[in-house]
Amino acid sequence: MEAGMVTPAPALVRFSGIQKTYDGEHLVVKNLDLDIRKGEFVTLLGPSGSGKTTTLMMLAGFEVPTQGEIYLADRPIKNMPPHKRDIGMVFQNYALFPHLTIAENIAFPLSVRGTGKAEAQERVTAALRMIKMEAMAQRRPGQLSGGQQQRVALARALVFNPQLVLMDEPLGALDKRLREQMQLEIKQLHERMGITVVYVTHDQSEALTMSDRIAVFNDGVVQQIDKPDALYEHPVNSFVAHFIGENNVLSGTVETIDKEYCRVALAGSGTVTARAVNISGVGASTSLSVRPERITLVPDGSSSDGANRLPAKVQNTIYLGDHALAVLDVAGNAEFMVKLQSGAHDSLRHGESVVVSFRPDDCLALDPV
């Protein structure tokens, strides 16, 4: 699970046995242990209600853990008020102060810290230059576009050189193109300034683009913490496999287990070989996960390379510009997706019989959904 920990650096943030409940009945966060190293970009990813935002709010100091302790640079901060934590934060809706100009907004964290006028001026100018908005210093937030407001919020959270920067779905309100551009800008800022960032999002592609490590949350539990590629290639359970990237699910029963591999009898028909990742034993039901781009359509014929082959019926094809998707009916799953090159879908007709092929290494036997 901690495969990504190749360069051990001291943990800047440590969640230790954190639990949080709002109503005294349901735990929103269940037993969270999480280390965030200095200079790291960690994303808390999960569907809404998974506990990721609560975790961020506990780190920021706006929520108090019901149990456990949070350490920031080895100091317990559970009972430290937010304004003493030296954590910069970028909010979902930017939260720029509407009655202050852009320059005043960015100067705010400096002035409450009693930074000298000249130095504050200098740092505000530098921050404005960083976000390329020197010309807008005297405008008010209401006069800026969403992307500009987002940049100002970023500059404001960075201008006082906090030891940690938190971002709570900061790009949620932007359109797709702007969001992608901002993702790159934030990533570049992170690399240039060497800041530690904890980022919350429910958008998996955003998480994959920006993060050093991603913590996948579900039901108040961290399902997996890993580097983006490891999460995609080696999900530890069905939730992660399904949440990160596109995923085909085939359900079945484990027949035999042979070291890392197992034979699975599919619920529809047929048998496949899969990597045994998360199964409880022979006879247990399992969900197989196969990525659409790891599947090929082959001429009807028997396997010669050890790859799994399954008969399929074409349901539909979807043209997406740079690629196309074939929607097939495979072993009872009528929404089985196969990624094709554009053009390759033309020959497929509804109801046509084809054969799908995928390697056992690309087929993961996970916990049943």
Partner: protein, 419 residues
């Protein structure tokens, strides 16, 4: 495509702007028809009476109607010496005519406002002037009836009251008057009550506004931050006073605050006081009762401005290193300024016009301008002065509203939140 569209424009010869106006006209007419009833209603019940009041403040035709010849004769008079025989003759003729038609009291009342005792002068003259004086003896005859006719101020008073419009009432409302030479001077001390009255009205209104702000701000904050269920309940309590008559609420304060009232009895029973405190029929009682009545008018605008402030602002301020008090003063408070301004203006303007409450729970030294306006309209029927006081009050209120408008305009913010 573009080319053909352009040529079509040219061929029809109707500019785009006019076509737009034509297209919008139907909607405008509809909108106007919808607001027309209210407009007419406001015109008759609001704009009309106010214009009437402003007119009455300067209208001065009573003396002109009763003593037309005298006014005409005095038109040429320079006011330096006593007027000539012609004026006396005109007056004698006017007085006889007025006695015949029974209108002498109208002129007497008006002239008495300007010069105390004029009523006596005019009525005695009217009573004693049995027959028209011989030509050339009018001055002598009148002076014999009442020696006041030998005094210049008597005549300047008549000339000043000649109308048809006058600044007399407006000057009086500001404790000013014209002396015999026509110069504007301070009114004699025994008549100069209005400036201090205005000052008192403003001070009471200001005290009530400040009290409402101090008491209302935390309540509004609570309303804006509590979860909806609780805040709705609290809102009902805030609005409760609106469902009770003003008179009932004011009388309730009398019950509470009088010397044998609930408050005094409780304090006495607790052994805190020996003698009952004087809580009512003084400034304290007026301020308490008015604050109670006007508090919702402060809370509601404050609440609405606070409701618009996202809690994210305070969180952002805290995360940027601002301690709670700093965050409140620099982030929260400035954003409530429009609400504070609107609430204060509302309460202040409402308080300026308060009548019932000070009349019931105030002492003689706590009566506000409305009390005197009511007094002049209902008791002494001095419509001119009542209107002038009203006009001055209106002017002060309009000035305040303008100043407020200017302040708010400078503060206008659209907010950075997108929700």
């Amino acid at each position: 495509m573009t080319a053909s569209a352009t040529s079509a424009d040219a061929s029809t010869e109707v500019p785009l702007k006019r076509r737009l106006r034509r297209a919008e006209r139907a909607r405008q007419v509809k909108a106007l028809a919808l607001v027309a009833p209210l407009l007419v209603f406001l015109l008759f019940t609001f704009a009309g009476p106010i214009a009437g009041m402003l007119w009455r403040a300067v209208d001065d035709r009573e003396v002109r109607q009763v003593l037309p010849q005298t006014i005409a004769a005095l038109a040429e008079w320079d006011g330096k010496e006593l007027p000539d025989e012609k004026a006396y003759a005109a007056l004698a003729s006017d007085v006889q005519a007025a006695r015949a038609s029974g209108t002498i009291a109208i002129a007497a009342k008006r002239l008495n406002y300007a010069l105390n005792g004029f009523r006596t002068i005019l009525t005695s003259t009217s009573r004693n002037l049995k027959t028209a004086p011989e030509p050339g003896t009018a001055k002598e005859t009148l002076s014999k009836i009442n020696p006041a006719w030998r005094e210049r101020p008597t005549w300047t008073t008549i000339k000043d009251a000649g109308g048809p419009i006058t600044g007399f009432y407006l000057l009086a409302a500001l404790d000013l008057t014209r002396n015999a030479d026509g110069a504007i001077v301070a009114a004699p001390p025994d008549q100069a009550i209005y400036r201090s009255l205005f000052a008192r009205t403003f001070i009471i209104s200001l005290s009530v506004t400040v009290l409402c702000l101090i008491l209302g701000f935390p309540v509004a904050y609570l309303l804006a931050t509590l979860p909806p269920g609780k805040s709705n309940l609290l809102m009902i309590f805030v609005l409760l006073p609106f469902w009770t008559s003003l008179l009932v609420r004011t009388c309730a304060w009398i019950v509470l605050l009088q010397s044998k009232g609930v408050v005094n009895d409780s304090l006495h029973w607790l052994g805190i006081i020996d003698e009952p405190l004087r809580l009512i029929y003084n400034r304290f009682g007026v301020c308490v009762a008015m604050t109670h009545v006007l508090l919702p008018f402060m809370i509601l605008p404050l609440y609405s401005s606070m409701k618009a402030i996202s809690p994210a602002y305070m969180r952002a301020a805290a995360s940027l290193g601002a301690p709670p008090l700093t965050a409140f003063l620099r982030i929260y408070l400035p954003q409530t300024l429009p609400g504070i301004g609107a609430g204060s203006l509302l309460v202040f303007i409402l308080a300026l016009g308060y009548y019932i409450t000070p009349a019931l729970v105030g002492g003689a030294a706590d009566q506000m301008i409305s009390y005197f306006i009511a007094l002049y309209t209902t008791e002494t029927a001095n419509w001119g002065l009542a209107s002038a006081l009203g006009a001055v009050l209106l002017l002060a209120t309009i000035l305040l509203a303008l100043v407020y408008g200017k302040l708010v305009q400078g503060q206008q913010v659209t907010g950075g939140m997108k929700n």
